[in-house]
Subunit: 336 residues, 2 copies
């Protein structure tokens, strides 16, 4: 596990408060557990963070007292007593902090959760804000980049171990089990998403789930997988392996996809529009006559979530900045 | 995998429509993917179900076309074109169905999602409804009970295999990895939640996460784990094993907890208040002088989610009915 100083979390909170002060209420109720983790280091769930001019306070319950003390020494906490609901505890904390208005994460809090909290704190105005912390999370610092690299390494070592033990008799499900097990041996805490192992025609589906097909049943195996490291950072990789003699067309398509990926990666730099990076890869694939078979965006940001901003796609309005980490995953899906 | 006829899903939808007609608008927009699965058999995500007098329609995208055809033959679908957002596709479908009002799952849809959908369909009234499908899901049919039994069996066989290979040198994390791997060998698709393996003093935390502690470092190991079967049904079990000579007090506590569990199970029958079942176990533990050390509810419903209704606890208002499946998990947590 990499060391993350508590100062780093305080700096993230300061940065966010600075952005909040310029734009809307000065206080923010963070309900998304991934955002709570990003801002405090606390890796549990069922806990909210109130962040504001009058201070920072984590609203949690007694199950997490020990973990909070270990993961966020010095952070002020409000431990709700048994029998008290979260919205009641939040109202209690807001009564102490007394902001006139508080922003909330409208892309995470449910309609029901919002109604409950707003009704328990009628004197306060609740202002919907979508994606504020997620926007900060797009820019990674050196420690975060190292964590993502670690998650990539776990995934790469895991898949190499799985591949080394692969036989034609194994099913997609068995191969997926071997992959998950191997990633854990190399320090992964869990897959970053349910891994895809797809044989033959199923490899042409952008979203296949492993089943009982045997590795030897097709000429290709597709693996789409990733690892989550101890710090919660994720990786997302794809490989296609030939398990028989590959047809000339498949070999050609492989070259086209590889060229598209290399060109896109060469284009990546601070200041470039994400849709331009997508366009470079897309043009390469279109020129080869496979434009129709590349039906999704080129890639996406990655970090504590496997899919986060920015988005590399034809309609993306994002601009790349220093510190962003993105996947570059062009594909040509030939039916069958 | 157990066979579930498509008629079963149609019957669930009819049942829900019947309940809807009595109480509120006749149409319901289902956004929670677990509820979509319960009502259609579709196991993917990013898809909404509109259920109403004018018919049933699944709103999804092209990634899932093959999977929907396999899992829900005959179900009407609206596949949103690339570049169309979910709320736009939902508005499109609502424009065809033309209900005056539609209920939505306010305990799942985010404030932001609700705003987007409501703004794209201004002529329609959106009525918040929390937990409507979840209420139906509390009562399991024979097929669902069989699926849960299968998930229990996968968990039991997995933990037996892990235990058979356990050594004092293994860490909590290694034991958790062996457990997950073994459950997959017995047909499990993934853990039903991140398994807890906790040694010594950490076994006294209701929410420990596996770490680098070695099995031999304490006199006890606690394992709290479960499996998810191919149908998505889950199990949730806990075991405490002695790894050294157990103290007389621990042996006594074990007897108290076992007696509390047995008494509670004996009490379970259709018509009984859930808080009464909890009270029977709680009284047993209080009589032995450990009431303070049993700080959580007695149990919970289980099915497609690892935690669902009804709730067995001191403040529960639920009543047990035939077909409900609940965990019974009293505990005494002695600090250290």
């Amino acid at each position: 596990m990499l060391f993350m100083s508590t100062d780093r979390y305080a700096a993230r909170r300061d940065n966010l408060l600075h952005r909040l002060a310029k734009d809307g209420p000065g206080d923010l109720l963070v309900t998304n557990p991934t955002n709570v983790r990003y801002l405090t280091g606390f890796s549990g769930d069922d806990s909210f963070l109130l962040l504001g001019r009058s201070g920072t306070i984590l609203i949690s319950d007694a199950r997490f007292t020990t973990q909070i003390a270990e993961e966020c020494p010095g952070l002020e906490t409000h431990i709700r007593p048994p029998g008290t609901f979260m919205h009641e505890a939040t109202a209690e904390v807001l009564k102490q902090a007394r902001p006139a208005a508080v922003a909330f994460e409208s892309n995470h809090l449910t309609h029901h959760g919002w109604t409950q909290i707003a009704e328990a704190s009628k004197a306060i105005e609740f202002v919907p804000k979508a994606g504020l912390v997620e926007e900060s999370r797009q820019i990674k610092d050196a420690g975060e980049v190292a964590e993502i690299r670690e998650a990539v390494r776990q995934a790469e070592r895991g898949v190499a171990a799985m591949r080394a033990g692969l036989t034609g008799e194994m099913t997609e499900l068995q191969a997926a089990a071997e992959l998950e097990y191997a990633m854990r041996k190399f320090g992964g805490r869990k897959p970053s998403f349910d891994p895809i192992v797809a044989v033959g025609a199923r490899a042409a589906l952008p979203h296949a789930r492993p089943g009982e097909a045997r590795i030897s049943e097709g000429e290709l195996v597709l693996v789409d997988w990733g690892s989550t490291n101890a710090g919660g950072y994720r990786s997302d990789l794809t490989r296609v392996w030939g398990t028989a003699r590959i047809s000339a067309e498949l070999e050609k398509v492989h070259g086209v996809v590889l060229a598209a990926q290399r060109r896109a990666i060469a284009e990546i730099r601070p200041g470039i529009d994400c849709r331009e990076v997508d366009a470079v890869a897309r043009k390469e694939i279109e020129r080869a006559g496979y434009g129709e078979q590349f039906g999704h965006g080129l890639g996406h940001g990655i970090g504590l979530d496997v899919h986060e901003g920015p988005r590399l796609g034809p309609s993306s309005k994002d601009v790349l900045k220093a510190g962003m980490v993105v996947t570059v995953e062009p594909g040509v899906y030939l039916p069958g």
